[in-house]
């Protein structure tokens, strides 16, 4: 992947104001809280975390589909926070998005050719026949047939609909493609077909991917770098292989240990994780994970931890980041039979 930074988020936050009032003040939901990351040219940067951690909101905020409450976003080095009207529309052309639910991501009343063509029309690119040619080639590029051009979405399977969504996003030749859980709604065998397609497109067109998912095995396969999110904050960020080999943050460790490996002989040594993700309406004080963390100390509940670079380009947001990394065993995946279900 190249060195040039395509997209950079600096201290981006997105707060929602709940309708319900609590002791006089309107309750604030910090969906995204002071998030910073970079996406380099032709790199796949992923955001992973459980539902409610703010990964989808982050994706939409850096694209300015949602207006950020604080912070800056640089696209190709230029701040896009104050772009309006035509210049904002120009930005839309360079940042495109694909969505999770194939069944509601395509307008049921339009033929798929029209759906793929429309972005070109919005940006007045070429004339009608040129637009049709480009749409047909995009259709073929994602593995569909030319004679399906006039078909309607309800005649396609989930996997095919996802391919149409990808064709629609790519027709504008964006610099960066934000993928919001693109394969979560698909069956395993279809999932790998779509992942291969995304990988092919990234290699051939040099587009960068901001990939959002809760599925750790998909993240491991497709990402170059990973940011783990918890209650609106990136608690750990580093290169993919290292994250899976030596996770630094306690939450990452717990998250990885909870992922069931698809082979009975590899049992993940479970990190007990009590309770559930607290409600974002009133997050715990200090480090948001302290009430569920096995290593928590009074300091954790007092102060929000700083982001430390424990290794080159490996950031962890935890007071005891360095000590925990040393302690973290070489590999938490032990090669002994999974005793849990054995009879």
């Amino acid at each position: 992947m190249g060195e040039k930074v395509v997209l950079e988020a600096l201290g981006v936050s997105k707060f929602f104001y709940a309708r319900t009032k609590k002791d006089g003040k309107r309750q604030v939901v910090k969906a995204v809280d002071n998030v910073s990351f970079k996406v380099r040219e032709n790199e796949t940067f992923s955001l992973v975390g459980e539902s409610g951690c703010g990964k989808s909101t982050t994706g939409r905020t850096v694209m300015r589909l949602l207006e950020p409450t604080e912070g800056k976003v640089l696209f190709m080095g230029e701040n896009i926070m104050d772009r309006k009207g035509a210049s904002l529309k120009q930005l839309r052309r360079q940042m495109q998005m694909i969505f999770q639910d194939p069944y509601s991501s395509l307008n049921p009343r339009k033929a798929i050719g029209r759906i793929i063509e429309e972005p070109l029309e919005i940006h007045h690119i070429g004339n009608a026949s040129e637009r049709r040619e480009m749409a047909i080639s995009a259709l073929k590029q994602v593995g569909l047939r030319e004679d399906q051009f006039y078909r309607y979405p309800h005649e396609f399977s989930g996997g095919q609909k996802q391919r149409i969504g990808i064709a629609r996003a790519l027709i504008l030749e964006p610099k960066i493609l934000v993928c919001d859980e693109p394969v979560s709604a698909l069956d395993v065998s279809i999932q790998s077909q779509v992942l291969n397609l995304l990988q092919e497109i990234k290699d051939s067109s040099g587009v960068s991917l901001l990939f959002i998912s809760h599925n750790m095995s998909v993240i491991r396969y497709i990402s170059d770098r990973v940011g783990v999110m918890y209650l609106g904050r990136i608690v750990e960020e580093c290169e993919t292989a290292r994250l899976f080999r030596r996770p630094g943050h306690p939450y990452t460790k717990a998250l990885l240990s909870a992922v069931p490996e698809p082979s009975p002989n590899l049992r993940t040594e479970r990190v007990e994780l009590q309770g559930e993700v607290p409600s974002p309406l009133d997050p715990p004080s200090g480090c948001a994970f302290h009430n569920r963390c096995a290593y928590a100390t009074p300091l954790c509940s007092a102060k929000i931890p700083e982001r430390q670079e424990v290794e080159t380009e490996h950031y962890v947001e935890c007071h005891y980041a360095k000590e925990l990394l040393r302690v973290s065993q070489q590999s938490h995946v032990l090669a002994q039979p999974a005793v849990m279900g054995r009879r």
């Binding site: 694209m63 589909l65 904002l88 529309k89 839309r92 052309r93 940042m95 495109q96 998005m97 969505f99 999770q100 639910d101 509601s104 991501s105 395509l106 307008n107 049921p108 009343r109 339009k110 033929a111 429309e118 972005p119 919005i122 940006h123 049709r132 047909i136 030319e146 004679d147 399906q148 051009f149 006039y150 078909r151 309607y152 969504g165 629609r168 504008l172």
Partner: protein
């Protein structure tokens, strides 16, 4: 080259869609009844032995006969002529009401479903209007504006427009949440393209269903208003007037009520069946 393939694909696609439409038996039944009713209305001059206004007191209240299929009313006017011309008036009044209230209601519903600011204002007004029983509102307006068929249409529109607005708003709110709306926005589309290009086509079915129900009940309400003397002014033969005249002679000439009544019921039935058919057609679980 690919031109030929595309043309072939387009023709094939149209065939599939036509097949789907023909498959909806209920909607088709309703459609055929309406075609029949429309023909009756259009061919009124041909079918009716004489004009609806020609009075000849000599043959008052004749029973149905080869000369007068529906017999004659208390002023000796041919009942078939009055019914068919009345059908024409009722259809136009009902049709105009349905069309006008649907167009306005659709626009209001779309805007209030999409823009929250518009929503609060428009919906409060609509709720206020809907609180008034439709017929009473229409009668009060006709009494105020004077009774003419235009005023009848106008006052019925005021009563029905909020109903369409409410259906349109509810559908807009649900379509607005769909992912393909967020997708087209992320491609840089402005609100006009989003609202009229993408949301409107997806809410047409429930609105059309509502329009057919309004068409049907507009015919009933118009007839009821004429019955109360606030509808299309006599001597124009709206179905309501025909039935109003028939009321006074119901003991002597029952057919003056039953026969025009049948034609009216058939019309309204046809519209309601069409409405049910379209609703079942677009309801996905119906397949």
């Amino acid at each position: 080259m690919s031109e030929q393939v595309l043309k072939e694909a387009r023709r094939e696609q149209r065939k599939v869609m036509l097949g789907a439409i023909l498959g909806q038996r209920v909607a088709l039944a309703g459609f055929f009844i309406m075609v029949l009713i429309a023909l009756l209305a259009i061919l009124a001059p041909v079918l009716a032995p004489q004009g609806p206004y020609d009075i000849n007191p000599l043959d008052r209240l004749l029973p149905p006969s080869p000369k007068h299929w529906f017999g004659t009313d208390s002023l000796g006017r041919d009942l078939l002529a009055r019914t068919l011309y009345g059908l024409r008036i009722s259809l136009t009044v009902g049709g105009e009401t349905a069309l006008l209230s649907t167009v306005i209601g659709l626009a209001l519903g779309l805007l209030s479903g999409y823009f929250r600011a518009v929503d609060n204002v428009v919906m409060r007004i609509c709720e206020g209007m809907m609180a008034i029983p439709p017929m009473l509102l229409a009668i009060a307006l006709v009494a105020a504006l004077g009774s003419s068929s235009e005023n009848v249409v106008l006052s019925m529109c005021v009563a029905y427009m909020p109903m369409v607005a409410r259906v349109a708003r509810a559908s807009t709110l649900s379509v607005k949440e769909q992912t393909f709306i967020e997708a087209i926005k992320s491609s840089g589309a402005g609100w006009p393209r989003v609202l009229f290009g993408h949301i409107a086509p997806n809410i047409m079915s429930p609105v059309i269903v509502q329009a057919t129900y309004i068409f049907a009940s507009a015919i009933i309400i118009e007839a009821a208003m004429s019955f109360l003397g606030a509808g299309v002014p006599p001597p124009d033969p709206s179905l309501g007037n025909v039935l109003y005249d028939a009321k006074s002679v119901i003991f002597k000439a029952w057919w003056t009520t039953v026969l025009p009544g049948l034609v009216m019921v058939l019309t309204v039935l046809g519209l309601n069946i069409l409405g049910d058919g379209v609703r079942d057609a677009m309801d996905p679980s119906g397949k």
